[in-house]
Symmetry: C2
Subunit: 158 residues, 2 copies
């Protein structure tokens, strides 16, 4: 999985702690965790396309959450960064070469391997979809109660 | 996910249908599904290192199952090809830059994001570990009852 997923998740949490209405630039979000700004910007743009973030133009522009954390799931962020494709991509090799099944032109019959791999992936997606970023924020605040204040101070407008 | 996972899974099933004791070369297994032999050979070697396949040297050499399909799980094959790393790799960006938490030197406190992503991945691994290749074989035979015979004929020693 793309490391951009980790960056995107942290950035969403940081934006929530900074405060809902303020837009923050990719450069500033990147600096906070010492990340390459141009690459983080790419991830943030993907979150905008997925409707997770909004972007604001102008001198006070940047990124902010498009909706509250309790309406953003881990799945939303993973799908925004990784794309909608399944991790296991069946390329239908059973329909290639001498091994091609005579019924290979009836794609209605799903390959048993693809089916089994797909069910496992569904279990993963279900877990990701069941967990909101607000669940994660609460857990993070239990572990580091001073984090929100520290973040707000660092990002305070100068 | 590496397309080698699909190839490895099909090859294991094909080896079971061909028959337990016979060793088959990578070139022959590759030809059956029109796959690049050198690259399939790499995947098969990974399955040998993982103890899923055995390799036999000599003129009648090649690969064969190291144990019955009901003792090989989807997880065994995925781990052999993809490696043991989690798909989501936490790089601990929370410990980088000005955002570094003061307690960043106490790695005992797992990042809430890594924890949530890890739980989802665990659900995926559990599904993969709960499904044996024999479950998949039975499903495949229900869908294509003629497949085992077709495979045995094509791979019959000449």
């Amino acid at each position: 999985m793309n490391e951009g997923v980790e960056w995107a998740l942290h950035s969403c949490l940081n934006l929530a702690w900074i405060g809902g209405e303020r837009a923050v630039t990719a450069a500033r979000l990147a600096a906070y965790h010492d990340l390459p700004a141009a690459y983080l910007n790419k991830q943030l743009q993907a979150l905008v396309r997925a409707g997770v973030l909004g972007s604001v133009s102008g001198p006070k522009g940047g990124f902010r959450l498009a909706r509250p954390l309790d309406r953003i799931t881990l799945m939303d962020v993973v799908a925004a960064i990784e794309g909608p494709e399944e991790a296991f991509r069946c390329t239908e090799i059973r329909a290639q070469g001498p091994g091609a099944a005579p019924n290979s032109l009836t794609p209605a019959v799903e390959c048993a391997i693809a089916g089994a791999m797909g069910r496992a992936e569904l279990a993963w997606r279900r877990e990701l979809a069941a967990r909101t970023l607000d669940d994660v924020r609460r857990q993070a605040e239990r572990q580091a109660p001073d984090a929100p204040d520290r973040i707000r101070r660092w990002f305070a407008p100068t």
